[in-house]
């Protein structure tokens, strides 16, 4: 496994792999790798001949006062995990190459980027869309793997890939959960033991919603009442949003009529967590646009 920092080195390594007849898979990460990332990486290693993993805490997707400085950085452990998983190349970008002096270009996915995560974190999704476009242009993979936990990000990336005619297949992978049900997230490391227990209210609320839909409930306000009933009693948990949306457009829905994504963002102490589940008929295939 090679670890490189320069765009030219990535291009040379990928060209070499292609000349050897290997297809190229790509996983974009901000490091602090956990089982969620590793499921994407393992799938890429299984599917393609050469897997590239980028490891970069992208400054433009953090707002002022957000946790850019505190975001966990564990490069050595990340590289060891990549090596063990069979990654061909780790790319650790230089900020001066991704954001050179006079950088002025932004990829904006209008509409999709404004509600939910976009409202809570202005410019977050613009930063994600822009850096993912750069990375896809540098690596030029055949397939790129993203997790469903960041559901709105996944929808934004699918849309920009289609709209900008980027020749890459986006593969969406299921959320990976720890034994207690909490979705893996790099930010989980920053939860105290007590906050970690409190954080389980997210997954409990989502499981309740799934259960209610399977039992025939289709009215979104009724689902939300019950979800609030799980989260509101947890003193340390503060709901930012709970919403039911169309997985392709992120437009709000009042009824569960076909695949419906229930998304939520909850602050537990000072750590903001997101999670989601897909409910409704055809939920298994939903959001595979």
């Amino acid at each position: 496994m090679e670890v490189v920092t320069k765009i030219e080195e990535v291009r040379a390594a990928v060209s070499g792999a292609r000349e050897a007849g290997r297809s190229v898979g790509f996983v974009a990460t901000m490091g602090a790798l956990h089982e969620g990332h590793l499921s994407l990486i393992r799938r890429s290693v299984a599917d393609t001949g050469f897997t590239v993993v980028s490891n970069y805490v992208n400054p433009t997707q953090f707002g002022p006062g957000e946790d850019f400085e505190e975001y966990p950085r564990t490069l050595e452990a990340d590289n060891a995990a990549c090596e063990q998983a069979g990654v061909g190349l780790v790319y650790v970008p230089l900020t001066e190459e991704l954001y050179p002096t006079g950088h002025a270009t932004w990829v904006e996915v209008a509409g999709l980027s404004e509600a939910f995560e976009g409202k809570a974190r202005p410019r977050h999704l613009r930063g994600v869309a822009t850096v993912v476009t750069k990375l896809l242009n540098i690596v030029r993979p055949d397939r790129a793997y993203f997790g469903r936990k960041d559901a709105q990000q996944l929808t934004v990336i699918r849309r920009l890939v289609r709209d900008l005619c980027l020749p890459v297949e986006i593969v969406a992978m299921p959320t990976v959960r720890d034994a207690d049900g909490l979705a893996f997230s790099s930010r989980n490391r920053r939860l105290s033991a007590e906050e970690r227990r409190d954080a389980l209210c997210l997954v409990q609320a989502l499981r309740l919603a799934e259960h209610l839909v399977n039992a025939g409930e289709t009215e979104v306000p009724a689902l939300f009442d019950r979800m609030h009933g799980v989260i509101d009693p947890v003193a340390a948990a503060e709901i930012d949003y709970i919403a039911a949306v169309d997985p392709d457009t992120f437009l709000r829905k009042d009824h569960v009529d076909g695949p419906t994504l229930i998304v939520l963002a909850v602050a537990v102490g000072s750590i903001r967590l997101i999670d989601n589940c897909l409910v409704g008929r055809g939920a298994e295939q939903g959001g595979e646009a």
Copy 2:
């Protein structure tokens, strides 16, 4: 020469050329080809093994009330000219492929896109940046050729190619002028004989500015006074802007100290024309960022 309309057909043709060991050149046009376009096309044919020309009047770079409907469309003559010049592939995009239902993604080059053409034509440069990004992702050329007449567009494209890490070399080509000095433009076809004579005030004003700088004038207001003296007496000519800018940033300059682009936009009757010239020390190399 092949003429195709679908993204998949372009990709197949370009792959075929690459497999045959040919490099790929690209010229993006809105059709109505004139000597300016042909100079780009001929240079691409000379430089590369396979030249792709796109021919598409891109709706998103026209504002409401602009001349999208009236823009000249001469596809048959354009194809004949391409064939004669040695083009390998003409791509005539389908709007439903470039702007599918739910299209939401825009490439914005902040700052550079707001003054001058961006002020006169809001969203024009966003439309250009977005469609050029799409076309570069579809064709994936080694080199793409653009004319210096659209100076601000050239600067925006150079910037987005650098910022989005697009692996293409942008080649800037000199403005081609008719025997009377008027820069070739598809919109020239819409000038009456009288307007055409009036339109020469643009190039006369630019030549005067060049002459004055060569004679030692470095004060921009003095240059503009003299340029106004050429244009203002032409009753049918209405100046939108005259400006002296840095060719890489399009920031205004008050002194000619190094490469300086003098840009102007003038309406002659109902037809809006733009032109520019590069003056100052090192003018020959200026803007080659």
